[in-house]
Symmetry: C2
Subunit: 279 residues, 2 copies
């Protein structure tokens, strides 16, 4: 480790998706970054076992795998396919040596207006996937996504909703992802972080900043740390007070960052992390 | 009235902003629409007294005036200007004969990350504006805006937050705007509607549908009734159960609707209203 302030820093692969797997691993080595959060698609493209060996040989810790989920389909064939895909995601997480699979729950099926029903179908799926994940040493981390994604991406919009779901299952099977981007506006979130921490259900903590104007489709406008409206130290304080001592991932979806040199973006992200989280 | 199902329908002027004041009033007459929600800018352009006479002579009821608010500035000069502007908005509401002024609270000041402080400054402002509005026979209706507007437009993101603010003041001074577009994702909203109704604080009820993808800036993508993810009858049921018997405004910000013939859009909106709210 070149910088003790980076001990808990984890670079989520999506932040620098312009880097190949080997480029990402090499850049982490050069910068003293020891943790990465990986995504299924680039890992599968590179090869799961090959990626596992690459990060293991480099001494990197895989903090999470993103992502499973999309569990809201009504159609039985689609539901079965989603469950099978999530079992594969658990297998991949286990192969990569990470103990956490992030779940983005899924939006409303086409033509449906039934948020409650969609949330219940997620619970049904978790009753199958939770034990499967436990058998593979993997914890599921339900990620509440910002309410602007409720229709088309994730019907779980608040930490409260995520915990209401997670608490139907043991904490070592199902917990939550706390991501500043999705919850920063919610004055109830600090109390929910305390609730999650007390139950051992904070399975990962992620940072992204809120910048405006939002881009069309609102997917790729997550701000670099320090560029937006979110007080990162405040949220780090909440999870710390709740007992969370794990890695802190920076996960940015941002067209402007993706257009730049990936190594430069990684260095900048590490520097911003230190500037906005160090004591 | 040509259609009893339109008795409670109110067309918010923004939905058909391509119509001039006289065109709007004439189109309402032709369609049997008896209620309108007006906006300050077009009313002031036409002349407040002249607009008041126009709608009065046509027998139209003005259900709301949109909008006051923007009460989060830190700078004392800006704060004083905002209070003065809101007093003028109250005066205009009274002149138009409406009893409800909708408030959009305002976002974070430039560089600020302090949502709580911004919300407290709104309360400070309401302590001045509430009595002023009461003296003029006008009720203030805090509108929680969707959390995607928390940074740049409205730090009040949920009905819970809006009611926490409103309840510091008498209900005949300060209540809330219930707008489906902003709250549809929130599983706590039905209970908050009940809370608002029990206290006589539902000062207006507005409809817009949630369609995706959201446009850049996320301002002008509010869907025509029936085009999106929101079950209008469900939300009408919630406000009805809470005792609300007032007008139901349809307020759409939508570039595609604005590009069409305004009379046609008004006719379509009235028809959609009937189709999605009638028993």
């Amino acid at each position: 480790m070149s910088d003790p302030d980076l001990t808990r820093f984890s670079i989520n692969q999506m932040t620098v998706k312009q880097l190949s797997m080997p480029e990402l691993v090499a850049a982490c080595g050069d910068l003293g970054v020891t943790n990465v959060g990986l995504w299924r698609e680039p890992v599968r493209t590179y090869g799961v076992e090959r990626a596992a060996k690459l990060v293991r040989d480099a001494g990197l810790t895989v903090t999470t795998l993103c992502r499973g989920g999309f569990l809201t389909a009504l159609d039985p064939v689609e539901r079965a396919a989603a469950l099978a895909d999530n079992r594969r995601a658990v297998d991949e997480a286990a192969a990569l040596g990470t103990g956490v699979l992030v779940l983005v729950s899924g939006g409303l099926p086409a033509g449906s207006k039934d948020l409650h029903g969609a949330r219940e179908r997620i619970a049904d799926a978790l009753s199958v996937l939770g034990p499967y994940a436990e058998d593979h040493g993997v914890k599921l981390a339900i990620e509440p996504l910002h309410p602007m994604y409720a229709a088309d991406r994730c019907v779980v919009s608040t930490l409260t909703q995520a915990l209401d779901l997670a608490e139907r299952f043991p904490a070592h099977q199902v917990g939550v992802t706390v991501d500043t981007y999705h919850i920063w506006w919610d004055d109830r979130a600090p109390a929910q972080i305390a609730r999650a921490g007390a139950a051992g259900r904070i399975h990962t903590f992620q940072l992204a900043d809120w910048t405006t104007p939002l881009p069309e489709g609102v997917l790729n406008g997550r701000g670099q740390i320090g560029d937006g409206a979110i007080d990162m130290r405040e949220w780090l304080g909440h999870v710390t007070k709740a007992g969370y001592t794990g890695a802190i991932e920076v996960e940015l979806f941002n067209d402007a960052l993706w257009a730049r040199d990936g190594r430069e973006v990684l260095a900048e992200t590490a520097a911003r992390f230190v500037a906005h989280t160090a004591d």
